[in-house]
């Protein structure tokens, strides 16, 4: 059987570990995060942080494809696949797989985003062997049998029906349709009633074959495991996967802008507003000025201008946010706000004024200092548990940051100048380029 053949892959115990150990502590931490780049005998790479105080292992990984790789007319395939991963694999049917997984309290889960297909494993050290064995089956040989397929299809059809009535989803999709018309980025990643009805086992198999490859696979492991043992496990789980690149199905695109106002009627006491437009070009997705700009305008800290103006000063909302984001082939901005129907018009007006003011004048020196202090100071919070560290290190790999990112990131933030942020603001935050979608019964806003 294929699964046993995986073990023959590991012929030697000698293997290459390129150990890029990050010893220089970043400014505010007394202890450094020691990240090793492990390369397995079979050539699979992972970032590893050994942490032996607690007997558990956290592994997060991502394949280089996602819901944009759904076949034409088969929207929702990748999402459907996530629900099939514990419904039978290798020599185990679904019940047997779940029984062993749950008996040993192993956590194996998957999720599908637009351009990445994520997996994670969380296990106690004492069950590590069984956990990696189960994961190998799930990753290499999902079964797609007809009873679970039928059952999960019904589950996803219900989910699609629920999303059709969810106002936040309706508004977000309307915004995406305006921003990326007739483009893979506006596909229905959860599927539609029509597409979910026809996705077959072969469609799932094809998606699995296309996306589950070793090419550009990113892996982060934190916990009670050493580099040598990890190398062997990496080959076990991923060694049999093909090395073919996931097809690049998306042309570079500029977000379409200027949909001044779209109102969707929906019977609710509140209106939800989705607003957004231009972002940084994909080649600049590590743009630190844009990141600082995001935080100042609509991030999670108290100094966020939108929070100050819309919530704190005027009491118009319980929550608003705005950020600059990137797909692999497009940059865009995306903002959110919920408010009573009666105050929707005012909240939108204030929001546009905040963005325009930033576009015209840029941030104040005080804001720059505060934002940098907050951003650099709060960085350590991402490293407070094994699972959080694994998640952070995976994100860094997906964003093509170097392995010493934890050392250099705060310096890069501090090096940003006010002029750089001002330039980005002028380019990206003009209020008249925003696409604005409102759902609810907003008073005074015509359709």
């Amino acid at each position: 059987m294929r699964l046993f053949a995986a073990h023959t892959f590991v012929r030697q115990s000698v293997f290459i570990v390129v150990s890029l150990v990050c010893l220089a502590a970043f400014p505010m931490l007394a202890k450094a995060i020691d990240i090793q780049e492990v390369t397995s005998p079979g050539g699979i790479k992972a970032w590893l942080v050994e942490a032996h105080e607690i007997p558990l292992v956290a592994m997060n990984f991502a394949f280089n494809g996602g819901t944009i790789n759904d076949a034409q007319g088969k929207d929702g395939t990748g999402n459907f696949l996530t629900g099939m991963m514990d419904e039978g694999a290798g020599d185990m049917d679904g019940q047997a797989f779940r029984d062993l997984r749950d008996k040993l309290s192993i956590s194996i889960s998957f999720s599908a985003a637009s351009e990445n297909f994520y997996g994670s494993l969380y296990t106690l050290s004492k069950n590590r062997d069984a956990a990696f064995s189960l994961l190998t089956k799930a990753v290499t040989a999902p079964r797609f049998e007809s009873e679970p397929l039928d059952r999960m299809r019904k589950y996803y059809l219900q989910q699609a029906a629920d999303l059709l009535k969810d106002p936040g989803t309706i508004a977000s999709l309307a915004w995406t349709d305006a921003a990326f018309p007739n483009h893979p980025y506006s596909r229905r990643s959860s599927g539609t009633i029509d597409t979910l009805g026809i996705i077959s086992a072969d469609d799932l198999r094809q998606f699995h074959k296309t996306v589950f490859t070793r090419n550009k696979l990113k892996i982060a492991v934190v916990g009670d495991i050493d580099a040598k043992t990890l190398g062997l496990e990496l080959d076990r789980v991923f060694g049999l996967l093909p090395d073919t690149p996931v097809p690049d199905v998306v042309p570079v695109v500029d977000v379409k802008t200027g949909l001044a106002l779209k109102v969707i009627d929906y019977d609710s006491p509140q209106s939800i507003v989705i607003f957004g437009g231009k972002g940084t070009p994909p080649a600049e997705k590590q743009d630190y000025p844009a990141y600082i700009l995001s935080e100042i305008v609509g991030g999670g800290a108290s100094f966020s201008r939108l929070t100050q103006e819309v919530r704190e000063k005027r009491g118009l909302t319980y929550g608003t946010s705005f950020s600059l984001n990137n797909f692999n082939k497009a940059g865009y901005s995306f903002g959110y706000l919920a408010t009573a129907n009666e105050t929707a018009a005012e909240a939108i007006k204030v929001t546009k004024e905040v963005l325009q003011e930033m576009a015209d004048k840029g941030p104040t020196p005080g804001e720059m200092t505060l934002a940098k202090t907050y951003i650099t100071g709060s960085y350590a919070m991402r490293f407070t548990s094994n699972s959080a560290i694994a998640s952070t290190l995976l994100a860094q790999q997906i964003n093509d940051y170097p392995i010493n990112q934890t050392n250099i990131r705060n310096d890069k933030v501090n090096a940003v100048t006010i002029e750089q942020v001002r330039d980005q603001a002028k380019k990206l935050l003009q209020a008249d380029q925003l696409n604005i979608v409102v759902i609810g019964k907003p008073v005074g806003l015509g359709k």
Binding site: D102, Q158, A161, D267, S268, A301, T317, A338, S385, N386
Partner: protein, 452 residues
Amino acid sequence: MIKRSLTLIFTICLAVLSQTILVASAQALDIKSTEFTLANGLHVILIEDHRAPVVTHTIWYRVGAADEQVGKSGLAHFLEHLLFKGTPKYPEGMFDRLLDQNGGEKNAFTQRDATAYYERVAAGKLPLMMELEADRMQNLQLNADSVKTELKVVQEERRQRTDSSPGALLGEHMAASLYLAHPYGRPVIGWNDDVARLTLDDALAFYKQHYTPANATVVIVGDVTPQVARDLADKFYAPLKNTFTPQPRHRTVEPPPLVERRVTLHDARVATPSISRSYSTPSYITAAPKEADALSLLSVIIGDSAQGRLYKKLVLEKKIATSAGAGYSGTQLDNGEFSIYASPADGVDMASLEAEIDVIIADVISQGVTAKELSDAKDRAQADAIYGLDQRSSFGGIIGLAATMGLSPDEVLAHIDILPTVTLEEVQKAAAYLDIRRAVTGLLLPEKNKKQ
């Protein structure tokens, strides 16, 4: 996102408290905890975690929504929002600014029995966090404009979390039906009419009645030693004087449950119908020995998302549901709740689904559970205890909530040793609480006369 958050964290804690840390041997988990009480009655608990130079500081006040007067629902939560609005030493905005300048995360939440405020910062900033919390415990200074604006924010919060959510609205009706007399029947966010009429004077009066050192527990989780914790507590909290003596809290005792209750909501925003049911049970505080532990294991056996009886029978075997589960909420002062829920498969009517749920419950009551089910549930809880070590600030949350109910960390950790000793008989005995006369059943349905 900054939210002065109204998380009903006990629903998270319930899963955690009932399953996460309550098995395996407490010593084997190697949790270093220290506690001490200052002369003014402030209670301090330290849980060490030296893996990263970060600390989470949480102050828990022994006051929640269930301590409000009739006609002033939502006041405990409103005051929680207002705690951020300034003191003479740190005027409005300064608290937030200082946290930002120190790279800190912050938030707060109000529950039925407790209100908590937390900050997460580099360990070296702990003195500043203590100074800020000590200051706003006693020196809150409110102005009419910011109170007025923040009231609007609270109304927006209710609109977003409750009034725009048919499921949340149904939940309010279920709570009101489950508790005729006891204040758990009121929503923590408050009724719209009460909230609209809350004033600055209301907030200050509530503040003075409930916020004092002897009514608080500070929980510190992170890279701090016991000596440092004690020195800092002596410096910042010990000088505070009590402005009143906290009294034992008494809420109207709920009369013994007598009637089967049912509430039904039809709403155009609902696509997939669902049924949920809450049974009134003892809590960890009111239960007889091992009763709450038995209820917690029962909730896993009946309601686990893959191995539970509800999922296996309704979703896998009979295929009349697309999802089904259960949970036990035991971390409340006066009463606990055991809840079950399910969504029907397309074409299945709610009455049939409910009838099958009743068969499953009746079977557990009359036959109990199997030895394998009990043993598997205990194993899972044991493993969760170790996972809980990785998420140590969540563990701190359980300790803090328990402290507001008079439980010490040792008493919480003792449940780790109790859970493996729960017997089949004890589980079956606990199942007797799943009596329909102790419950409210809620149906969430699409608009009437519309095809689903």
